[in-house]
Symmetry: none
């Protein structure tokens, strides 16, 4: 946590980047806008000479990058995560603009870690991974060719984050403590278990129930105390069955 | 001239680009934002395979690029030209933000050709060339490392140009049916009843629980189907007690 500079609290997360050159380009794009926390989820090749070449003067962003096995690891400790896509239909979430998302992220980053998540070059983020995020932002693009290079997408987002973080007065601190990524994940698991136990949810025939619930909770941007309230209620339901 | 789409009237001019890969990256960045008029002033190597590779699906922007001997040729017919730099001190002109410049350019581009001019990778635009332009715009950047890749600089500018040119378009209709006031009220009453029945909520000692839940649900902006899902779960809990 860093109260002096919200940009230091903003992670850029690249999920399964295929080309090391793009990792370097992302690092350079980040540094030009004052971002430094690069997190990589299962990169195909890293470290790599091409990443270092493309990073140019941002080599220390690469050297300080953290590598994770899965997205949950990269989001650990974050109170707000934003998935990005130029493929509007795929996420089927309410999409906001990069500009709006950057404002929300920068406001939270004044006091807590937040993350912006970019999918793999070819396939983007799948729904399951996007479902781990709270916000979904699309870079407005030519519908006939919305295919931004990964480094360019990071550049546009980093640019908006810098503008948002350096605009005017700092926002007032949030009134309530936001729930962390881990707290919401524990709530989801508890909910799934209790819904299964009550017979409401059939794990053999899940349809899209869990996805819908996850999306709803993400949109609610839960506070830590709300997670406690909901889990307290689930505990009371669990006791009924015993 | 094109009265239908201002983006078609906006030229991207690269002055003495050194690396063909950057020309390709600029072409791709342009097409993702709906720009198509690329003008090159004395490129060191063009055409070039690396430019084509980096252009990816924007190859026709490269093929239609016009090559000029000097900047005056590239600006021929334009009514407004904007020089770009991240080196504020060098231009010694009154700098505006990319966002402001994009608005002015897009407004003029509704009826006349305009241009955005990018200098060479190492040296930027010299004063003499910048003096041929009407506006001077800087991309806000980290003062310790303002060194955007040429393709990334084009991407950020093209992004702002697209936003400026398409501002005022209606947003897409919402994909899901929002819950009505009555549906959310029924859910609140059901929740209160079930929480009371399970012993989690004590109506004699309500504290602020119901208020907290109401605030959480309001923030979630529930959809009609989500209300059905939640009430379905509450029904399953209700059946447990019987």
């Amino acid at each position: 946590m860093n109260r002096d500079d919200p940009l230091k609290n903003i992670r850029i997360v690249l999920v399964e980047p295929r080309h090391p050159g793009n990792i370097g380009a992302a690092a350079r794009a980040m540094k030009t806008m004052g971002l430094s926390a690069l997190h990589l989820v299962a990169p195909r090749e890293f470290p790599h000479l091409e990443a270092e070449t493309r990073a140019a003067g941002a080599i220390e962003v690469l050297h300080n990058a953290q590598v994770h096995e899965d997205l949950a690891g990269a989001l650990s400790g974050c109170v707000l995560a934003c998935a990005t896509s130029s493929r509007r239909r795929e996420l089927r979430h309410e999409m906001m603009s990069v500009r709006e998302a950057a404002r929300e992220l920068a406001a939270q980053a004044a006091s807590h870690p937040v993350a912006v998540v970019f999918g793999s070059e070819r396939t983007g983020l799948d729904r399951e991974l996007a479902g781990l995020c709270h916000l979904w932002a699309g870079i407005p693009a030519n519908p006939e060719y919305p295919s931004l290079n990964l480094g360019s997408a990071v550049q546009v987002f980093a640019y908006e984050l810098r503008l948002a973080a350096t605009a005017g007065e700092p926002p007032p601190p949030p009134e309530f403590e936001p729930a962390t990524f881990e707290q919401v994940e524990q709530l989801m698991r508890h909910l799934e278990q209790t819904m299964t136990d009550t017979g409401f949810f059939d794990p053999e025939n899940p349809k899209r129930l869990l996805q819908r619930l996850r999306r709803m909770l993400a949109r609610a941007r839960l506070e830590a105390e709300e997670v406690s309230i909901l889990r307290g209620f689930l505990n009371a339901v669990d006791r009924l069955r015993r």
